[in-house]
Point group: C2
Chain length 439, copies 2
């Protein structure tokens, strides 16, 4: 019941804070109250901001929030979107306001950030092993009885660490734990159902812990062979469902319901279908999706994967890319080359380099982003520079020093973590709001 007022208070603190000159993207020479950003009259296409600047298209965010809410309703699944993607309290709040049940996170410090901004339920989709990190989470649970945090385990060592810390802390309620089922040759997680059941039995028997369910991450199965992926994902989901049934047969669960969680941003439709209809157990099963990148999608890796999802799902318009990084042409040293004022510090480069989409010349009569011709690519990035390669044709004469270039990105997570402040814009690139991240 505290959620709205407390969250509103925490977020209003951000609006009340002063942003300092030197904050990337902001054209300020004096401190500026963050809440006043929307009334500055800044427009990215008019080059009112500093460059580079990271922008989030508000209409695309709203579309994606509504899309996912409808998707979850249609499939009868619960959403705990992965907050590590954005680490943005304002975006967490928007997700929670649009039906998310909680926020998934990856580390104890991320949980602390989310709690500070009044996220009331966290799925920490990771093994919690360091003493200080376990303590940090237990301190929140101890001091805030309404706060919920579910963690993972995949080993008896991990269970013993959690159990010992909960006992030492004297937590009044059991710590809910999901067993992680992994995949041979992949990341964490038990490699067999037998191992997973062994860990589950240890949790059920441990002081201070409760077995809350099972979890896996099918996103590690993404390859270039989509049909093979789909078969592998479905087999993995079936194994998770079977585990839940066996654990329930042994009466190992300790919560009001049974959590069954998977779902990155590539195959969450398969997860939604694979986890439905699991019933007849001792208590209700709650299928929890954890997609984080649905919120912004992208112009690269996820756009390709989501196109496949749309083809499977077939339900109106798919998710829209919401995140762009705009920079300026700073040099035109050769006919086929423009150097841009952005680099590895500003845009993802771990899966693909940024995707040049638009250009605009500030001062033009029409304040409108113009599509770049086919063949424009970011060939390379240094820390602070991007190399825009220009195809043969008019663009080589037309693109000048001082022109703006808007790029889409591939893999939102590794662009969000390069910005402490992103700017929300309307469809005309008017700046409406600042969004903070806490990495």
């Amino acid at each position: 019941m505290h959620a709205l007022p407390r969250g509103a208070l925490a977020l209003s603190i951000l609006d009340g804070q002063s942003l300092l000159p030197g904050t990337k993207g902001l054209p300020i020479t004096e401190p500026l109250r963050q809440g006043a950003i929307g009334v500055q009259g800044w427009n990215v296409l008019r080059a009112d901001t500093s460059f580079p600047v990271a922008v989030l298209k508000a209409s695309a965010l709203q579309h994606n929030l509504a899309w996912m809410k409808a998707f979850c309703k249609r499939h009868g699944v619960t959403l705990a979107p992965h907050g590590k993607t954005t680490m943005s309290p304002q975006l967490f709040a928007a997700q929670l306001a649009n039906g998310a049940w909680g926020i998934t996170l990856a580390s104890a410090t991320q949980v602390q950030v989310a709690h500070r901004f009044n996220v009331r339920r966290v799925l920490l989709a990771n093994q919690l092993v360091a003493r200080a990190d376990i303590e940090a989470v237990l301190a929140l649970l101890h001091d805030d009885p309404d706060f919920e945090c579910i963690v993972l385990a995949d080993s008896l060592d991990g269970v013993a660490r959690l159990s010992g810390a909960v006992s030492a802390r004297g937590l009044a309620r059991p710590l809910p734990v999901l067993v992680e089922l992994g995949l041979a040759g992949k990341r964490a997680g038990c490699r067999t159902s037998e191992q997973a059941l062994t860990v589950a039995r240890a949790i059920a028997a441990a002081d201070g812990l409760a077995l809350a369910g099972f979890e896996g991450y099918e996103g590690l199965l993404v390859t270039d062979d989509r049909d093979a992926d789909v078969r592998a994902v479905n087999a993995f989901l079936a194994e998770l469902v079977e585990l839940v049934k066996r654990a329930d047969g042994e009466n190992l669960f300790g919560g009001a319901d049974i959590l069954l969680s998977a779902g990155g941003s590539s195959y969450f439709d398969l997860v939604a279908r694979g986890f439905t209809g699991v019933d007849g157990l001792s208590r209700p099963v709650r299928a929890v999706l954890r997609s984080g990148c649905y919120l912004t999608s992208d112009h690269g890796s996820y756009q390709r994967l989501l196109a496949q999802l749309d083809a499977r799902e077939v339900h109106g318009e798919g998710l829209r890319p919401a995140l762009e990084v705009w920079s300026m042409v700073q040099s035109r040293p050769e006919p086929g080359l423009a150097i841009l004022t952005m680099g590895k510090r500003d845009a993802s480069y771990d899966i693909d380099l940024p995707v040049p989409l638009f250009t605009h010349r500030p001062g033009s009569d029409a304040v409108q982003a113009v599509a770049l011709p086919p063949g424009c690519t970011i060939a390379k990035m240094n820390d602070q520079h991007a190399y825009l390669s220009l195809p043969e044709g008019d663009i080589r004469d037309q693109l000048l020093v001082g022109d703006l270039v808007g790029c889409g990105i591939s893999h939102p997570c590794t662009t969000f973590d390069k910005w402490q402040v992103l700017l929300a814009v309307d469809d005309a690139y008017n700046v409406t709001q600042a969004l903070n991240t806490f990495f």
Copy 2:
């Protein structure tokens, strides 16, 4: 004359600020005054911190600061280390206290950060093109008559933008500009000496600008063929020297001295040698090196390049790697695999993946980092996880969940930008101080 007190004040503000729970690496559940970090008694090997944690070895930093000071003295060159590497005010202050003449930066927002922490002279080694970014720098120069900032140009368009902005602003002193000489097929910069002279003449003739010198970045010439690199770098340096002589012959320079600047962290010894003995001109020539990564070196790309530099320079011990990221084994799902609590959010991955160096089991009698056996490698990283591949041998049985792993990194710039707070440690990994970054 204001430098010391003003800088000390600005830095003391950092020590006085409260670090909040959720700051990566910090094991805190309540806000903590930053200046009190050194008296908490935290030791990384005892797992007192949160993990991952980024640590800077104070003894290595001190060694590298002294090494570079001696190098510059020996060669008679000036140092303006590239601050974009660390963006850390405490490290800027340490560099300035150890003989640096100024700080090099890459963007207007970086200049604003440096100015806030009382850096008094900046070489902005980049074209400044966006209206707001030019304005930001001119506002500092206007409001703070003792602040110096030198910028680059490589085009007549760029010169016109700078000149127009300076005139509009009514700056009382000319803006010093370096002409950037570039390299065919590489980044920004004029492609020929004739183009560079044309830009130089435009600067000399422009309202509000003064030609301060010439600049290039030989670091773009790094390939796998060291001998070819050395020849190409030397030829490039000779071209810069020749440009200075020709511009001086035309009486284009407008400052008290002539700046001749180059020098990344790979070939700065060649730059120091290539830029000495340029005399007989109308005014003294100041050779300015801009190496940023000398301060921490690394265990990858720069370690390899600096080993070559040491072989050329031959002058006692070389630079020491100072930056490590420590994480914890969170899962041992397969005999040859350990999953660590760090990922793309925590350590560089753009040139090489991190280099596993040490391990330690918290709680062991001897609190000492033990070298990992040969063959341990980080095979892959996700956003929040690293895959430590273990060779055949005892390590497969010995490395357990909860053990610490210390990694070196390759390319300091892309690790610094992943941490807002790094921890300085002594040789026994006792935490002595927090260092801030502002990216």
